[in-house]
């Protein structure tokens, strides 16, 4: 219940941030397309954070994780 509430609150904050960006942000010196796209960093951070975490865990499980005594074993 508390978890759901926190999550909803965070999503609400993201909406407020997006709204503020639409109203008050007038960026200049835009070099790249993603800088011109308002709210780009919300989906970007969501996708990257989930992908990175799963990617790292998968890499670990498939190849890199070993028991703590791995180097002590002969």
């Amino acid at each position: 219940m508390k978890y759901q509430l926190n999550l909803r609150m965070l999503i609400l904050i993201l909406f407020i941030l997006l709204l503020v960006e639409f109203c008050f942000s007038h960026p200049h010196h835009m070099e790249f397309w993603w800088q011109k796209m308002k709210g780009f960093f919300i989906p970007f951070s969501l996708v990257i954070s989930i992908a990175m975490m799963f990617g790292a865990k998968t890499l670990g499980r498939w190849f890199l994780y070993k028991k703590p005594d791995y180097y002590d074993k002969d």
Partner: protein
């Protein structure tokens, strides 16, 4: 005006004093030395060069410009904070080694020629090894040997670079150079100390093995001295951009996998050094300022994180996330200080990490490296995820009952963490203090509303992502393999499959030779005894030997 004294000398004297003074006086010396060195460094600005003539070479023991001054100031400030943090420690060895380590780091920063730099560089390697060994566990000893092996190899490359440079143009100057043969030697030597992949694994191997106080020192000097020499020698070298990007991504991926809290932070040093190298590789005023500024910021927030995790280990005796949890109930201040460091490294606004990361993003944008900007933002997400969310969540909040307390956190540790946090906030709120000290002082506009909003979107978006998948993030008691596998398992393979059979072969050959020589000798002796002595007798033998000697003397005289 005070007598000009090299600031490193104060630390070397303090190391001697630490060995002989009782603990109360030793503590006073530990706090006074960085302050004294700071005063004398200010005084030394008026003597920007101090030369020593020896063996036909000019050695510049002191070379002061804006870059070396900025690093020296930061090292002294952090040296004071680290000394304050370690003040409760009764182990003399830590104080002796830390003084030598900080002193040699400052010596390396102020060095104006390659030989002086090399000497301090090697003292740093040896004294930091003592800090690793000080925990005196069997794993520490193994890590110490591997650390020395890697660093002495790096030092060898550095030394070969010096010899080649001397052969080419008889110069010992530390100045910009390209990637010719000598340049490559230097480059590899510096990469080892900066922990750039693939020669980075020593860091995650050795730093977690130090004592909590020892690791605080270790986290801040070796890699930053390497970043400093990169800035001096390879400014604007494109290769650094690509290596920096690889280091940043590599470090953050491994940090996400890690279970040991100090190994996790060590991977983040690799990651953050990547950011610094990107700035130096981009070059120009903005690139250099951004890379160097990030190094300065990193010394503070990474030091703070090592202090906080050291306090966790000091308090509980555990260093793995799978063993920790619920520590928020034990110390609220620890949570606050840790979160200041974690948010600073994640680039949250009003903290110093935000300022320097903004400069780095601006530098990448200005140099038209779009992909690099996206990589840096993705790495910032991974950093926030691993340090501010994963580590904090599993250490402070997961368990309802925290592990039992081994000992409370000492007040000097709290004070050191508080002061370091205050500096992180001060430089974040009032970045002009940092901008004025950068190699090219300039007032950058970092609090642009669009950028602040985008940073918040990035951080809160990541937080939402973490909340969605946190169920799947259980920590397990595992280690992750890295490139050190090559010399840890590879060395044992080499010994088993190559050294042992070779030794056996050598022993076999040796045995056979010994046997056959002894047989021949035995046969000769038997022949001598039975055939000659029994046949001709002793008097004739002595006479013939004497005539042989006399004959030889005559031949020699002629």
């Amino acid at each position: 005006m005070l007598v000009p004294i090299h600031p490193a000398l104060f630390f070397f004297v303090a190391a001697l004093l630490a060995a002989v003074l009782p603990s109360r006086f030793r503590r006073a010396v530990q706090l006074a030395v960085p302050i004294l060195a700071f005063i004398f460094l200010r005084n030394l600005i008026q003597v920007p060069q101090a030369n020593l003539f020896f063996l036909g070479f000019t050695f510049r023991l002191v070379y002061i410009d804006q870059l070396s001054l900025l690093f020296s100031y930061t090292f002294l400030v952090f040296g004071f904070l680290a000394n304050l943090y370690a003040l409760h420690s009764e182990k003399k060895e830590i104080h002796i080694a830390s003084n030598l380590y900080v002193g040699s780091s400052i010596g390396a920063i102020l060095a104006g020629d390659l030989i002086t730099l090399f000497i301090f560089w090697e003292i740093m390697a040896l004294t930091s090894a003592v800090l690793i060994w000080n925990r005196q566990r069997s794993s520490s000893l193994g890590a110490l040997f591997r650390y020395l092996l890697v660093h002495l190899t790096g030092g060898l490359f550095f030394f070969m670079g010096i010899l080649l440079r001397l052969q080419e143009n008889n110069s010992l100057m530390i100045s910009g150079m390209g990637l010719d043969l000598a340049g490559w030697m230097f480059f590899i030597g510096f990469c080892v100390n900066a922990a750039v992949p693939p020669v980075h694994a020593w860091m995650a191997d050795a730093y977690p093995e130090g004592t909590p106080s020892g690791s605080v020192y270790l986290s801040c000097f070796t890699s930053k001295v390497a970043v400093y020499v990169f800035a001096r020698v390879f400014l604007g070298e494109d290769l650094l951009i690509y290596l920096g990007a690889i280091a940043a991504v590599y470090g953050v991926i491994y940090a996400l996998m890690e279970n040991d809290i100090r190994r996790l932070l060590s991977y983040h040093i690799i990651c953050q050094v990547g950011y610094m190298l990107i700035g130096i590789g981009i070059g120009g005023h903005l690139g250099l300022n951004a890379g160097v500024g990030h190094a300065i910021g990193n010394i503070l927030f990474k030091g703070l994180l090592f202090m906080a995790t050291g306090a966790m280990i000091h308090m509980t005796g555990y260093s793995k996330l799978s063993d920790l949890g619920g520590l928020a109930k034990k110390s609220t201040w620890l949570v606050i200080f840790y979160m200041v460091g974690a948010l600073a490294i994640s680039g949250a606004p009003l903290l110093n990490g935000y300022v320097t990361k903004t400069l780095l993003v601006q530098a990448a944008g200005q140099a038209h490296y779009g992909w690099l900007e996206l990589v840096m933002l993705a790495v910032a997400i991974g950093t926030f995820m691993s340090i501010a969310l994963k580590l904090a969540y599993f250490a402070f909040w997961t368990r309802k009952t925290p592990p039992s307390l081994k000992q409370p956190i000492a007040s000097n540790m709290y004070l050191a963490m508080g002061l370091t946090s205050a500096l992180c906030i001060l430089l974040g709120v009032y970045p002009k203090l940092l901008f004025d000290l950068l190699p090219y002082p300039h007032h950058y506009h970092v609090f642009d509303i669009t950028h602040v909003l985008q940073t918040f979107e990035l951080l809160i978006g990541t937080l939402v992502g973490f909340m969605l998948i946190r169920k799947y993030l259980h920590t397990k008691d595992v280690i992750s393999l890295d490139t050190d596998w090559l010399y840890r398992k590879g060395a044992s393979f080499f010994i088993k499959r190559i050294c042992n059979p070779t030794r056996q072969l050598q022993e076999n050959i040796q045995d056979r030779w010994t046997q056959s020589i002894s047989n021949t000798y035995g046969n000769l002796m038997t022949f001598f005894r039975h055939q000659i002595i029994t046949t001709v007798g002793w008097p004739l033998l002595i006479m013939s030997s004497a005539s042989l000697v006399i004959g030889l003397i005559i031949i020699w005289t002629i």
